[in-house]
Amino acid sequence: MDASSGLWGAVVAAIGLLSLLVTGRRGPREVPPPAGTAQDPTPEQLQVSPAIWKDMRGEIRELRTKVDHLTDVVEQGSTRERSLREHLRMAMKVIRRANRRLRAAGQPEEPVPVELIPYSLD
């Protein structure tokens, strides 16, 4: 066995890639069926048929996909909200600066919109 052979290097590199694919595709284990399903029959316990359990797991998978999608939507919304808040703070700063200049010039100040007051940094 010649360790400097490119073939062995290629084999090792393939193992690395394989580990990525195998691990990446295998996510967290499905939650095991609760005790009392048909696979684990215990007297005096409610039994659930495998078909019902399979159907439930399908539903759970579907719900997980929906939750992932909603998480995406919420994160996008949060990012947008942060950006809008930042813009409002900037608007407040601009108005305050303009009013300071108006005051200095001896002219009446522009009224600050009530909605902007919470975003004042002062």
């Binding site: 090792v12 580990s19 691990t23 595709r25 967290p28 284990r29």
Partner: protein, 142 residues
């Protein structure tokens, strides 16, 4: 401060915390390989350096570690699994390369690295199968 740590911890979850640790380890290890690799490391991965120079493999460690660091914050375990996939790549490469060096007698002491890195791959694979307990929140708040 304690509340902030708790919030970050809640955000990461147990999967994210372990992925973060793997990420930090791999980035630092990659930097050490790129800057000044130890003799034993170079000797153990001869089969890889025959293909590409050491800085290339160091960059692989850093990139995979960076993917793990990024994925640690991912609250969807259907996606952070690719972070676990990324962390196994360089460790599997190292274990495999040291295995070749060991069985070819080019570096008989390489067996320690075979099992060390192999165990890390195994641990990452096991943790990747863990479901997240509780719920990870985008802002870490209850």
């Amino acid at each position: 401060m304690r509340a902030a740590v708790r919030r970050v911890s809640k955000r990461l979850g147990r999967r994210g915390r372990i992925l973060l640790a793997f990420g930090i380890m791999q980035v630092l290890y990659g930097v050490s390989i790129v800057s000044d690799p130890r003799y034993g490391i170079v000797r153990g991965v001869g089969v890889l350096t025959h293909m590409q120079p050491m800085p290339f493999w160091g960059a692989i460690w850093i990139v995979c570690g960076a993917v793990a660091l990024a994925m640690a914050w991912e609250i969807r375990s259907s996606r952070d699994t690719w972070g676990y996939g990324a962390v196994t790549v360089p460790m599997a490469l190292w274990s495999g390369a040291n295995f070749v060096a060991w069985v070819s007698s080019e570096y008989p002491q390489a067996w320690t690295s075979v099992f060390t890195w192999g165990a890390f791959v195994y641990i990452a694979g096991i943790v990747n199968r863990w479901p997240e307990y509780g719920r990870r929140r985008a802002n870490g708040r209850e």
